[in-house]
């Protein structure tokens, strides 16, 4: 349903993003989704009011390269990924270490889906 999605491997991510930056795209945000054995990351870019997306499948436990050297503003959503999903991001410009939004007492990685017992659905 989302138009204009390109599947990108983790290793090509930086090259593709560099290309988009040179075209003058604006980074809108990064959305993370817990998809079972991996995280699905959706990079939203805006080009003259049209959205372009990159979809990255990141196996759990693998490190994510930071695009914050290309887009400075990426440090905010990347730190959110660290907070919410416990994804390790390699060296963002500003690193809050998983505590940008979460306090010391907060539960860790709150948006990772936990196993629910059978039939507990609502």
């Amino acid at each position: 349903m989302i138009p204009d999605v390109t599947q990108v491997g983790v290793e090509q991510l930086l090259t593709v993003v560099q290309g988009l930056a040179e075209e003058g795209c604006r980074l809108v945000s990064i959305t993370g989704v817990d998809a079972g054995d991996a995280f699905e990351l959706l990079y939203h870019f805006d080009r003259e009011l049209r959205l372009t997306h990159l979809r990255v499948r990141l196996p759990k436990g693998q490190e994510l390269p930071s695009i914050s050297r290309i887009y400075f503003c990426a440090f905010v959503p990347e730190n959110e990924l660290q907070d919410f999903f416990g994804i390790r991001v390699a060296n963002p410009v500003i690193d809050y270490g998983g505590h940008m939004l979460l306090a010391r007492e907060s539960p860790e990685t709150p948006l990772v889906k936990r196993e629910r017992p059978e039939g507990a659905e609502r």
Binding site: I94, D95, Y96, H99, M100, L102, A103, R104, E105, S106, P107, P110
Partner: protein, 166 residues
């Protein structure tokens, strides 16, 4: 009552802290100062410094980080003081009571004297609550004493902003 006590309820200054919800209530507290509601007609004024304040207005549901700041600010206020919790989030957590980052209700963190329910409460209701708290400063038993947390509790170490190091 003594003249000091009588005078205390005449012109209490309030200090407002938003602990983190939708800030609809926080903006309504701001609106109290403006020409339509004009809280100053009761001699009640806003101050940005907790040490000048007699009343603490709390809006929003209390999260872990803001709870520490709130407790710190409360302990900086000189007595006698009263706390008004405004909005359903400050009362019980409201729609957010199931959220993982919250203590449900400001009264889990500091003692609250007056509760003003609503989402967001009418400014008139807020004025009513603030006036009740002003009465309390004079020593009138308007609200049930809910001081579950002792006043003498040590304030937490460090300044209001020591959390969240980058």
């Amino acid at each position: 009552m003594s003249i000091v006590r009588w005078a205390r309820g005449k012109s209490p200054w309030y200090f407002h802290y938003e602990t983190g919800s939708c800030n609809g209530c926080a903006i309504e507290v701001f609106a109290l100062q403006t020409p339509l509601y004009d809280l100053e007609r009761f001699g009640i004024m806003n101050t940005g410094n907790p040490k000048h304040a007699d009343l603490l207005l709390v809006t929003g549901c209390v999260g872990y980080r803001s709870g520490r700041v709130l407790r710190n600010l409360y302990h900086q206020m000189p007595g006698p003081k009263a706390v008004v919790a405004i909005g359903v989030c400050a009362l019980t957590g409201g729609i957010f009571h199931d959220c993982y980052n919250l203590a449900p209700g400001a009264d889990k963190v500091i003692p609250v004297d007056v509760y003003v329910p609503g989402c967001a409460p009418w400014p008139e209701a807020m004025i009513d609550g603030i006036l009740l708290a002003a009465e309390k400063l004079r020593g009138a038993p308007v609200a049930r004493d809910r001081r579950r947390l002792v006043e003498e509790e040590e304030p937490p170490a460090g300044g209001a902003g020591e959390e969240g190091k980058a």
